[in-house]
């Protein structure tokens, strides 16, 4: 699938992090910008972080233009991805539905749906009748918070997550990118205000440009270059049930109950909810949130009560203080930041790599990511889709 090369002493670009975003960045650096003297440095095995431990949902149903345009770019890349890198990632546009349960929630969703439509993204409102038809197992009779309708993005859906990392890895590798696994970055060397090299468990590697794509651990890596960020690391759990025959044909999000669910191509119900709610780097979750998430499921889909949970695990999220990401320069020359993905990381993978590659290659952001700066907090120009402010554990 990909080579296992020895590190060269110097690269044009060093990307720290062999997750989906790092690999995608390498791929687009090579493909879009012709920069192939690139190393992707991974502490463990590629795709071992959040790209392999999420709930596989892709969507671009955001409210603020900075997010809407960016995630829509991602959707468009998803739509052409498999043919682009000749590897089936099972992109399945089965629709993503956000349920609403009150008039204020309906209005907030309308504002978002309209923002999507104005940005050229598909969005539609569903009546309860339409919802019943699309999702027969929703319980309309006994809900604590009666379901009034839903916001649907038909082009949203799911993607086979492992395949994404592997597909980008294969594509980057075939274009000459070195993927260096089991290579841990210990330090970032800054000389004269510019990043020049990384110290790794496999020796010092010099890079003309150094890019961080280590969401979940961004604070740790940025600290090596002396940067402190508005990011906290939090655990988000994901759950999968035993495989069952098709029961649910779309992605359903029950925001009021902190629950979202889809069914995988292997038949498992894949679901999740809120963060566990405290700073954590442990790739495992705890019982209270598990119970809460599944209560959310039983609140609207009591037919799944006898379906069994097969496995659950946790991913470490880079929670930014407004819920939106960073793809930007850092204030240190030749050092670039990609992180703060909160829950949005998986669906963003293609556009993140695409925009980050552009930012690195041109030493300037693309229009699509120009709002995703660190300075926005100092400036008071946060992009806060939830409106909960600087409490990352509830973002």
């Amino acid at each position: 699938m990909w080579r296992d090369p020895e590190p060269k002493p110097q690269y044009d670009v060093i990307i720290i992090g062999g997750g989906g975003h790092g690999l995608a960045t390498a791929y687009y650096l090579a493909k879009e910008h012709g920069i192939t003297n690139v190393a992707v440095i991974e502490k463990g095995w590629i795709g071992g972080g959040n790209v392999g431990r999420n709930t596989t949902i892709v969507r671009s149903n955001y409210m603020f233009p900075a997010n809407t345009h960016f995630y829509e770019k991602s959707m468009k890349l998803w739509e052409g991805l498999e043919q682009d890198f000749n590897f089936n990632a099972m992109v399945s546009q089965r629709g993503v539905i956000n349920l609403f349960h009150s008039d204020p929630q309906r209005d907030a969703f309308a504002r978002r749906g309209n923002a999507m439509r104005l940005a050229g993204v598909d969005a539609e409102f569903l009546t309860p009748e339409q919802l019943k038809e699309m999702v027969p197992i929703l319980d309309f009779e006994n809900a604590r918070f009666p379901i009034q309708g839903g916001l649907l993005q038909r082009r949203g859906g799911t993607v086979r997550h492992d395949a994404v990392a592997w597909g980008y890895a294969r594509g980057a590798d075939s274009r000459g990118v070195d993927i260096l696994q089991n290579c841990e970055v210990k330090d970032i060397v800054v000389e004269g205000g510019a990043a020049v090299a990384v110290e790794t468990s496999r020796g010092t590697i010099r890079g003309k440009k150094i890019a961080m794509a280590v969401a979940g651990h961004t604070s740790q890596v940025a600290k090596m270059a002396g940067i402190e960020l508005p990011i906290e690391s939090h655990v988000l759990q994901a759950f999968v049930s035993e495989g069952i025959k098709p029961l649910l044909d779309t992605v359903v999000t029950f925001g009021a109950g902190h629950f979202y669910i889809s069914q995988s191509d292997k038949g498992g119900l894949v679901f999740g909810g809120d963060l566990d709610g405290y700073n954590s780097y442990a790739q495992r979750g705890n019982l209270p949130m598990m119970e809460h998430v599944m209560a959310g499921g039983m609140a609207i889909m009591p037919a799944i009560g006898r379906v069994r949970l097969l496995r659950h695990w946790g991913g470490v999220m880079d929670m930014s203080f407004d819920g939106s990401p960073f793809i930007c320069k850092t204030g240190i020359d030749c050092l670039y930041l990609n992180g703060g993905w909160c829950y949005g990381g998986f669906k963003a993978t293609p556009a993140s790599g695409w925009c980050f590659a552009h930012t690195i290659a041109k030493d300037a952001p693309h229009k699509l990511n120009e709002a995703f700066t660190i300075e926005r907090f100092r400036q008071g120009r946060m992009i806060d889709e939830k409106g909960v402010g600087p409490s990352p554990w509830i973002q």
Binding site: F87, S102, R111, N114, R144, E291, G305, L310, G380
Partner: protein, 992 residues
């Protein structure tokens, strides 16, 4: 009685209680104590399921919860449950099970044609195939994959059974009541520690039900039963059976699922189906035993090919013979025990084929009992399709040896200690070549493993090790054992180590992960393609990802991967075990919290008053509030219109009890409020109320409300309904963390005081009549923003002259228990003054007409200035959020600020969430100038009006026409921008 039921064995059966059940529509008979699998075997049924990918016919491989093959659909209708392991499903009268993943029938499954496609269905087939042409993926390939997904069918109706959570605390938790577990529990209990022992099965003793060994001179199963009785009788011991500890979480909290009533057709009235235990254990002894592994040879998945230990268990524990002629293939001593049990039960054992060549005592004993043993012989291939008919054997060098007819093969490739729970604590298992198994490394939590779970496989060793673990656990929990405490004893045995054989040579399909149809070749292929990391190989092949989490297959898979990489197993490592240990019903996690019980309902004191008047209620957080009071035949819109109109004409009463209320005491209360609110409080006179606005520390608006000064050092704050809890927490932070030096004290009084708003030109008359001599509410006695406390019906009441509607209005608070009385008093008094009840909708109409902000405008991203309240921000004192509110982006000219909108078309309506643009034919994300927050059909203005945030605000757009574009509704009405104070901008009506 079934044709394969033995007169021998059956320690778990109650032969006096025959039980009828059906499988695939055919009725059979078994005994109480049977599992579905044992009862089927006793009836000669070996074909129990189909595999996931190739739809290969399968029987049961094991006799326990690690079963990968024999999974069935149980029960029907709303109780239908897919993927139940037949090996753990206890038989009850009327049990109804169906085989899964087959069509049209289990014996004739047309999808087994997948086997012919198998060259394309190897590891990673999803990723490489179904690609071209592009347009075929979703409509054609994906549909095919999805239809073949999954195994059984879930119910489509709500689960009718209930679940509950329960909480346990103990000094010592013992997980598993096998020999080591019982020994551990007995030892720990003797120290006086509080012991909880949990066993997954209905019976205790584990392996002891199928052994011929003795403990303390008694048959082993009798010793186990007596130990259990002894434990149950102790006050400091709690015992649980049918309970699986499935997760080891932080804080030494373990989760367990008790299957309270799964062994019955339906739970008895009032009882849950299952109970989820959260167990807080000071110390844990993990005595979870081990899992036998399958040998990997061609067609090793044929029905009738089973693990040797399972065969023994079926015979001894259930009195069910898996076959009449059983060949044993093994690489270790343990399988010989199966041969001896079979022999004693009168089942023919034509051969034991032992892969090892070193002589061993077990073989000698078998030969002495008349069982033929051949050393250095491996299985090559199982013959037969729906049931094994014979086994072909080979020499270790791969040369064909011979074929032996049989209807059952008992195989064993050694035992893997069950390290599932301990590895959940982050302890990495370490490889031991001498026992061919992973054992736990040094504990990281308050736990220790014992017995087979840490690689001790002989009975004497398990008893001793369990005993030591029990003592160690108790000691660490603070309990000392008596010196005289002794472990139970069994005769020591010595075993010859097993021989590592990860693949018996062959060219056909040799299964490693039976349920997911992962073959030895798949693992080799994954390694060849570069998925050499054990985690990559797992994901690529799906090894260990089926419902059994690879309990019987992981180690073999790792062995094969190591072989492919040419490295020792210790270098390959293992994948991480994830909770739960075995699959757990989603309903059990939810417990009581489902459907309407998802969250508790909070009701106001006047709930029944609303009910009597026919109110339609709406959820407001956990509260239920009257939304509107429809008259017979009246629609929603008409009712809201009527209510809001009537309030301005006569008077209305509205239940406002849900507002957050906080009593604040202390000499520093005024200073405290000064720091919380953007406006000043120290100068507020006792007996007066003031509107306040507070910010978050990041400078955005947090909450608003009216706060009154009742006395020099006593304030009474109200918050919005939505933010009541958050405001209290915010204040606690301020008082405890930020300014502990302030002498200020407060508590929630939300449910001490219930309240009504009485608004409208007749409000004063209504209240004067309702409270008559108790109260003077003349303008002089109670001016606007005045507050008074008065005595009514022997209790204390508070009245506030405040108005959210712009009308002459009062809010009256009385103790919660007087709420109904107050409502009734006002209601009766109000009848002659045209008093009506109005709900949250009319409340909203009235406040929109006045341009008052509420939840829709307080969305966590707005500044005080955005709301037109910038001038409230004091410059004379510091307050929370003051500094950050000054950031350039938060005071920028281009921010959207609050305006009013009036529809200018006679048709159509306004809706919240519409975007505002100058040119409706040029509407885009870039041309959107703002959005509509709240709307209503206003009786006072005579058209649809709304509040909106608009870039440039009133100063740039007043009087201009914009379009409220709403693509998701396909509407774009024209609107005129105006002041948000639509009605009575001078506020004259406040005086009545």
């Amino acid at each position: 009685m079934g044709k394969n039921r033995l007169n021998f064995g059956g320690t778990k059966l109650d032969r006096s209680k025959p039980v009828n059940f059906t499988f695939d529509g055919k009725t059979y008979s078994g005994f109480a104590g049977d599992t579905l699998a044992s009862a089927l075997l006793a009836n000669g049924v070996v074909l129990m399921g189909r595999s996931f990918k190739y739809h290969r016919p399968r029987g049961c491989l094991t006799a326990g919860s690690e079963e990968p093959n024999a999974i069935v659909e149980m029960r029907s209708g709303p109780r239908r449950e897919p993927n139940t392991r037949a090996t753990v499903a206890e038989l009850y009268d009327g049990l109804d099970a169906q085989s899964q993943n087959r069509w049209p029938s289990l014996a004739v499954d047309l999808q087994s044609v997948n086997q012919l496609l198998s060259p394309w269905l190897t590891a990673g087939f999803y990723y490489k195939t179904f690609m071209w042409p592009a347009k075929f993926w979703e409509p054609v390939y994906e549909k095919f994959i999805r239809r073949s997904a999954g195994l059984g069918h879930a119910a489509v109706e709500a689960d009718p059974d209930t679940y509950e959570h329960a909480h346990a605390h103990c000094d010592v938790l013992v997980v598993g009541a096998g020999p080591a577990g019982l020994s551990a529990a007995l030892a720990a209990a003797a120290t006086g520690a509080r012991v909880l022992i949990v066993e997954e099965q209905a019976h205790v003793g584990g392996d002891l039900s199928s052994t011929l060994d003795q403990i303390d001179g008694k048959p082993a199963d009798q010793w186990a039963a007596e130990a259990w009785v002894k434990l149950k009788a102790l006050d400091n011991v709690t015992t649980m059976t049918r309970t699986t500890v499935f997760g080891y979480y932080d804080g030494n909290v373990l989760a367990a699922l008790e299957r309270v009533n799964d062994h019955l057709a339906e739970p008895p009235n009032g009882q849950p189906r299952q109970r989820m235990w959260n167990i807080r254990a000071k110390e844990v002894a993990l005595t979870c035993g081990s899992h036998e592994r399958a040998l990997t040879f061609d067609n090793n998945d044929r029905p009738g090919v089973m693990l040797a230990g399972a065969v023994r268990e079926f015979v001894e524990g259930y009195g069910a013979a898996p076959g009449k002629r059983v060949v044993i293939v093994t690489n270790n001593d343990e399988a010989y025990r199966t041969a001896m049990v079979l022999k004693e039960a009168g089942v023919e054992v034509p051969l034991i084929a032992d892969a090892r060549t070193t002589p061993n005592a077990a073989a000698e004993a078998a030969r002495a009992a008349g069982i033929p043993v051949e050393m250095g012989v491996l299985p090559k291939k199982a013959v037969g399709r729906l049931q094994v008919k014979a086994i072909e054997l080979q020499r270790v060098d791969g040369a064909f040896h011979k074929k032996v007819e049989c209807d059952c093969v008992a195989m064993s490739s050694g035992y893997s200690p069950d390290v599932h729970l301990v590895s959940q604590t982050g302890v990495a298992p370490i490889w031991r070549e001498d026992i061919l198994g992973f054992v736990p490394d040094t504990p990281k939590r308050q736990e220790r493993s014992a017995g087979a779970g840490k690689g001790i496989f002989d009975l004497a060793g398990c008893l001793h090790d369990g005993h030591m673990a029990g003592i160690d656990a108790a000691r660490n929990a603070g309990f000392e054992p008596a010196k005289s405490l002794k472990a139970s004893r069994a005769d020591p045995t010595s075993a010859v180590p097993p021989l590592a054989i990860w693949r018996c040579p062959g060219q056909g399909k040799a299964f490693v992960d039976f349920q997911n149809d992962v073959t030895a070749r798949d693992i080799h292929l994954a390694a060849q393609e570069g998925y050499v990391s054990v985690e990559h190989a797992k994901r690529y092949t799906t090894l260990g990802m089926a419902t059994d989490q690879g309990k019987t297959s992981n180690v073999t898979g790792i062995g094969l991967l190591a072989t492919a990489r040419g490295e020792p197993i210790s270098d390959v490592g293992t994948t991480r075990f994830r909770p739960p240990y075995s699959p757990v019903a989603i309903g059990a996690f939810a417990g009581h919290e489902r459907g309407r019980e998802f969250q508790p309902v909070r009701q106001t004191a006047m709930h029944s008053c609303g009910e009597k008047l026919g109110a339609v209620f709406v959820e407001a957080g956990l509260w239920l509030r009257p939304q509107y009071y429809p008259k017979p035949g009246e629609g929603v819109m008409e009712a809201i219109y009527r209510e809001s109109k009537q309030v301005r004409e006569t008077a209305g009463i509205c239940d406002v009890s849900t507002l957050g209320k906080i009593e604040i005491f202390g000499p520093d209360s005024g200073e405290f409020l000064n720091r919380l609110y953007i406006n000043g409080w120290k100068m507020l006179a006792p007996g007066k109320a003031r509107y306040g606005l507070m910010l978050r520390e990041d400078g955005y608006v947090f909450d608003d409300g009216t706060t009154s000064r009742l006395d020099d050092d006593h304030y009474f704050m109200t918050t919005t309904t939505a933010n009541a809890a958050r405001v209290l927490a915010h204040m606690e932070h301020a008082a405890q963390v930020l300014w502990p030096e302030l002498d200020v004290h407060f508590c929630s009084a939300t449910e001490q005081w219930c309240g009504v708003a009485v608004a409208g030109p007749n409000a004063r008359k209504v209240l004067a009549d309702a409270f008559d001599e108790a109260l003077d509410i003349s303008d002089e006695a109670l001016p606007f923003m005045g507050v008074r406390t008065f005595s009514w019906c022997g209790t204390t009441a508070r009245i506030f002259r405040i108005s959210f509607s712009g009308e002459l209005a009062f809010e009256v608070n009385v103790p919660w228990s007087f709420g109904e009385a107050m409502w009734n008093a006002i209601w009766e008094a109000g009848q002659k003054h045209g008093l009506i009840a109005y709900g949250t909708e009319a409340l909203s109409v009235l406040r929109i007409e006045k341009g008052h902000v509420a939840g829709n405008e307080l969305d966590g991203r707005t500044t005080a200035a955005d709301m037109g309240l910038g001038r409230m921000m004091s410059t004379k004192k510091p307050f929370i959020g003051q500094v950050m509110a000054g950031r350039e982006g938060m005071i920028a000219e281009d921010r959207a600020t609050l305006v009013g909108l009036k529809i200018t078309e006679s048709e159509g309506r306004l809706r919240g969430g519409a975007h505002l643009v100058v040119d409706k034919d040029d509407a885009s994300a870039e041309t959107s100038l703002g959005w509509v927050t709240s709307v209503c059909d206003s009786p006072a203005v005579g058209c649809w009006i709304g509040l909106a945030y608009l870039q440039g605000g009133l100063s740039q757009h007043e009087g201009k026409t914009l379009y409220a574009v709403n693509p998701i509704y396909d509407e774009a009405p024209a609107v005129e921008v105006c002041s948000a104070h639509f009605f009575d901008p001078e506020g004259e009506r406040l005086n009545g």
